[in-house]
């Protein structure tokens, strides 16, 4: 399982790294930008997933931190004349800081109360952003031209391939960070809090502080996504802070597989590609998205990646049992699922 998982991740990274070279060869240059956008949006889903899948908190307000990342970067460039990296940093600091403040209130609550307060926070700031046109451009948003990534090397976002690699590497760094965190002692604490809050307290874990740390980290990841999208589109707008956007990310994370590292990426990719392909043909494509979501939740409650992993694991352990007890037939999958 371990080895297979690592091989899969290496293959995925290699595939994503070679995309800008491969796609144009097939006349699919347009898709380089689609993949770049998927990678960016997947960070918003990863942020939802960190909270929901790993700590057990369902946030419907992660777009707020995405929006702060976006505006931090856009305002940094268009108003303060910052370079690309300082502007990126400003966006991330703004989103992380906002998450630190909002999280201090939100993580006192759980379940629907938590979900509601996250929505309320994002709504408040959505309306603030809409009304403060001098700063945010409100509905029209804020346009700017992107500074170079590295002037000396002549790396510009205007070059499609350069821009793709810039986005790819930043996203890769975020996923690497998440992979380290969920496998660390802190990640184990997250799991303990998700599994059993009461018992977590009773082994000496400060549940509130643990949730707050997760919330801040989720705000950071969403902020990176927002900052990248601002740079990608040379644009920021309050509409990205609306709770529709948060809700979409929740769907991506759940369809892909909450509690798995790559679930959000898979869910985001599937549903964005679906949107690209189907929305041109059928204006009510959202109904199809709803149907897909319901089907996944019913038939693969661990999401696509989660269910696939469980399937592979089950196959492997059945094989092993066969080898160990050749006379005994493997337990039927249904019985095993019930036992779990």
């Amino acid at each position: 399982m371990r080895a297979a998982g690592i091989a899969l991740i290496v293959a995925l990274v290699a595939a994503l790294a070679s995309l800008p070279l491969v796609l144009p060869a097939f006349g699919l240059t347009f898709w380089v930008n689609v993949v770049a956008e998927i990678l960016i949006w997947s960070l918003l889903a990863a942020s939802v997933n960190l909270l929901f899948g790993y700590v057990g908190l369902l946030s419907f307000g992660q777009a707020l931190y995405f929006g702060f990342g976006m505006y931090g970067t856009a305002i940094g460039i268009s108003m303060f004349g910052l370079g690309l990296w300082p502007a990126l940093a400003l966006g991330i600091v703004a989103s992380t800081g906002m998450a630190a403040v909002a999280g201090a209130f939100a993580v006192r609550l759980t379940w629907h109360y938590f979900a509601i307060i996250t929505v309320v926070f994002s709504l408040i700031f959505y309306f603030v952003a809409m009304s403060q046109k001098w700063l945010t451009g409100g509905d029209d948003g804020l346009s700017f031209s992107a500074p170079p990534i590295l002037e000396a090397a002549g790396w510009m976002l205007t070059d499609r391939t350069t821009q793709y690699y810039f986005i790819f590497l930043v996203c890769l760094a975020c996923y690497a960070l998440l992979a380290l965190v969920v496998a660390s002692p802190l990640g184990l604490r997250f799991a303990a809090v998700r599994e059993n809050e009461k018992r977590a307290q009773l082994i000496g874990i400060n549940v509130y502080a643990t949730r707050w740390i997760a919330f801040v980290l989720a705000g950071f990841i969403a902020g990176v996504g927002g900052a990248l999208l601002a740079l990608f589109g040379r644009y920021a707008s309050a509409s990205y802070m609306f709770y529709h956007v948060s809700g979409e990310a929740v769907v991506w994370a759940i369809v892909g597989g909450a509690g798995t590292l790559l679930g959000p990426l898979v869910g985001t990719a599937l549903l964005i590609i679906f949107r690209e392909v189907v929305s041109g043909l059928w204006e009510n494509y959202l109904m199809a998205v709803g149907a897909i979501t319901i089907l996944v939740v019913i038939f693969a409650p661990k999401g696509l990646v989660g269910s696939l992993t469980a399937l592979v694991r089950r196959g492997e352990s059945e094989e092993r049992e066969h080898l160990e007890n050749p006379g005994i037939p493997a337990t039927p999958a249904t019985a095993r699922a019930e036992a779990e």
């Binding site: 660390s184 990640g187 184990l188 604490r189 059993n196 874990i205």
Partner: protein, 250 residues
């Protein structure tokens, strides 16, 4: 200081019901104590007040000389006061080893966000120790949610021991166990009581009278009687309390 735990005037009301009603108690060092009483007597509520899981309406809880009333549960745990719950409570989605690992790490204040959780050799050793101590070694890789009821109860005791507690509160530790599991668990509790102070709530009178050295009887939120097993067995009030509700003794 001769008492590991002293309680003064501890009170908890749920609406009109005084679940714990001005209770004074002392639990001396070096003695395995038990709290018994019919259903609804307030035993679990007493433990909830001691461990900070419920705010008291009044009174003091003095643990090793310090008043711990008003502290948060995790703060009380880190002072060395652990407990198990009447409704067995473990991390069902984690393996047995990870259950213990997270408990040991919480105790040792290890919360590194970047190092692999499996890479702490001191923690791994302590996890092995706990597994061996509670006889769970053979189940280390099992997901806790797939364990038998008796093994879950054992795992919960192991979790409570992860912080090397000075005082361990056990709320009906053998309830739901098979006779064989009961026997080994009772033996473990007695062995543990040599190195750790233990107070247990238990309905199984045979077990209580066999292992407890000091018994407190609660009824309707108050202390009805305290004493050695012999004294309690001879106490008329206690006999009345139990005869009044014979099914409670089961």
């Amino acid at each position: 200081m001769e008492n590991v735990l002293s309680i003064r005037g501890l009170t908890k009301r749920f609406g009109g019901l005084a679940a714990v009603d001005g209770v004074d108690l002392d639990f001396p060092y070096g003695v395995l104590s038990a709290v018994i009483g019919p259903n609804g007597a307030g035993k679990t509520t007493l433990f909830n007040l001691i461990t900070g899981m419920l705010p008291a309406d009044g009174g003091e809880v003095i643990f090793e000389g310090d008043d711990i009333a008003g502290l948060k549960p995790h703060q009380i745990v880190s002072r060395g006061l652990s407990r198990t719950l009447q409704i067995k409570s473990v991390f069902t989605g984690l393996t047995v080893a990870d259950n213990l690992r997270v408990a040991v790490m919480a105790h040792e204040k290890i919360a590194s966000p970047l190092r692999p959780a499996l890479g702490f050799s001191g923690v791994n050793r302590r996890v092995e120790e706990l597994l061996a101590e509670t006889g769970l070694a053979r189940l280390a890789k099992r997901v806790a949610g797939t364990l038998s009821y008796g093994d879950v109860a054992l795992l919960e005791i192991a979790l409570a021991l992860a912080n090397k507690p000075k005082l361990l509160l056990l709320d009906e530790p053998i309830c739901g166990m098979s006779p064989a599991e009961t026997e080994t668990t009772v033996a473990r509790i007695v062995a543990l009581s040599k190195s750790t102070q233990i107070i247990l709530i238990e309905h199984d009178m045979e077990v209580v009278f066999a292992i407890a050295e000091r018994i407190t009887v609660m009824a309707a939120g108050r202390v009805l009687a305290r004493g050695t097993p012999k004294e309690i067995a001879a106490n008329r009030d206690v006999q009345d309390a139990y005869l009044g509700a014979p099914e409670d003794a089961a």
